[in-house]
Symmetry: C2
Subunit: 337 residues, 2 copies
DNA sequence: GTGAAAGCGCTAACAG
DNA sequence: CTGTTAGCGCTTTCAC
């Protein structure tokens, strides 16, 4: 049986109250008493019961994170890095991290409801925001604290950190244009995802700035996996008039495009340029190394967690909207080296 | 303010007890009363307070999972898939999943202590077991329920699920031998990791079975990342007498080896064979596609979670030791197609 | 300096 | 069928 305050109290001959206060570091406990209690607690191996403390303080000291997965083979290096950032920051603040994995949809919202209404967590992290994000709408309606990674089209204010995907994608596209490409294929993610629509805007911005008319047939939608990048790549590059360059809106799909190109006998970097977005570590080790746009994933994890901590402690954020500027990383997959 | 049992009790004019029992589905509540209570609870939006219930029942209905990370750029598709398996299975049983991310070492053990001694979880999942695994030793000493993915060298019994890495690696190595390779480089993970030592055994088994003397200089240790696979690959393939094939003990490193080979002007599948282990989705889309050994990562996540559920509910496992047999997946990186 | 008492929201033994 | 009572382990008034 675990040691409780009562056990210590009985042993030292003081009341539970005094023991509690000594352990909590209150200064209205006699120094000698405090010493005795501290020592005894140590000896007896006392550890406070997290649940009891929670019930009393009405705080869980836990934050929630529902990972939006897609299908069983959810093999996404992006999320493991993000999770490491969040998890390590949470540990710094002695917060527990409650994780759920749910595909977008009804079950996902239920996971949020569970965390919120059954008071399992004090605040939530919402990632991969969507246009009319039901999660954000829900949390806002409940007045529940959260921080999002990504913006939304909802006409409401909420705290978020985001990467300027539009700017990043614009730079990337312009880079390709500067290399002489005019027919640039684009593999987007479903457009209800905010980051997908931002990035697509950036692509369009660049085309327009250089007087290139958007060819709708060059724009496909993928599911963010290598496999779907591969399939979209086959389609684009298999055309009679294929693009000379293909941009995928994340690295995983870009890797799939490289695979597709090679399967069609094309040499990436020479016959066709391929680029991605994220700069996961694999990008640098692709064949050829992948030109991409870097977002500091681990840091983002830390920062959104940090923001949530501030929100929970202070009740508000001094800087509730943060936009990070991503960085173009040029490698051989676009043949410019 | 959230609705409590008390609120409902006051509204319907019954005691808290009766409300509690009606909601819990006990059959000693009058049908009409039950209906009234159920309806009222629904109307008022009652959701039980998880913390209060936990304090009372002395169960958290939460399982813990400490992810062993390596460095900040913890970008490992293996873990996101494993986590999805665990998370989805946990959801099926209405269990919360508490996740920590800690590099092996002191902080990691502290994360375990925190979960165990402060009674934050009912049971734990331990992955990537080690020879003298301090986590397992600790949990066993505390008599705390857990299930491991992987065995250990400790002279103790505990419930685990494992993949027969020795057998899998043996098959893979023999495949390479059958293709004519005699000088086969091997990039292991640190040998205190059980799976690394099992797989190395399998490699040695195969060599021995075919009368090939182990050349120690062909065996290097990596850190399971693409980068470290790349570095080890450069070393092995940069030798005056390079191996004709290189096996990495996980896919991520194998991808790094492919990158290294290409950087040295070698064509993988023709000039040198490369193989990995895991069969992450990226393996199929590598250039060339990677020969590897498949372990069903998502399923493993589900099963260890399932085992923990059984352990928690029944107090013991009907099948406490499960060994899965992995499957060789032949692709072009070994030039056999 | 210290302790008694209350109570967080829930469940469960027991009595009627 | 229903209510009373007790209590999970902790924190926090409020007295003394």
């Amino acid at each position: 049986m675990p040691v409780t305050l009562k056990d210590i109290a009985e042993r030292v001959g003081y009341s539970i109250t005094t023991v509690s206060r000594a352990l909590a570091g209150y200064d209205d406990v006699a120094e000698s008493t405090r010493q005795l209690i501290l020592r005894t607690a140590q000896e007896m191996g006392y550890r406070p019961d997290a649940t009891a403390r929670r019930l009393r303080t009405r705080r869980t000291d836990t934050i929630g994170f529902v990972i939006p997965t897609h299908g069983p083979r959810f093999s996404d290096p992006f999320f493991s890095e993000l999770l490491a950032g969040i998890g390590n920051e949470a540990a710094r603040w002695e917060l527990d991290l409650l994780v759920s994995t749910r595909a977008p949809g009804e079950e996902e919202i239920k996971a949020y409801e569970r965390m919120v209404t059954e008071r399992r967590v004090d605040g939530l992290l919402v990632v991969r925001t969507r246009r009319q994000d039901p999660r954000i709408a829900y949390l806002l309606e409940k007045g529940f604290p959260f921080v999002a990674f990504g913006r939304s089209d909802l006409e409401v204010d909420f705290p978020y950190l985001d990467v300027d995907g539009r700017q990043g994608m614009r730079e990337l596209t312009e880079h390709l244009i500067s290399l002489g490409h005019r027919r640039i294929g684009y593999i987007s993610a479903p457009l209800d995802l905010m980051f997908a629509s931002h990035r697509l805007e950036g692509y369009k911005d660049a085309l327009e700035a250089h007087g290139i008319v958007l060819d709708e047939r060059l724009v496909l939608i993928g599911q963010l996996t290598e496999q779907s990048g591969y399939e979209a790549g086959r389609v684009l590059l298999g055309r009679r008039e294929p693009p000379t360059a293909v941009i995928a809106c994340n690295d995983l799909m870009a890797l799939g495009v490289i695979s597709a190109a090679q399967s069609l006998g094309l040499q990436v970097g020479r016959d066709v340029a391929v680029a991605g977005f994220d700069d996961i570590p694999l990008a640098a080790h692709a064949q050829p190394p992948l030109t991409t746009v870097r977002q500091p994933i681990y840091e983002i994890g830390r920062r959104i967690c940090r923001m949530l901590v501030e929100l929970l402690r202070e009740g508000s954020l001094r800087e509730p909207h943060v936009i990070l500027r991503p960085r173009l990383v040029v490698r051989e997959s676009c043949g410019s080296i």
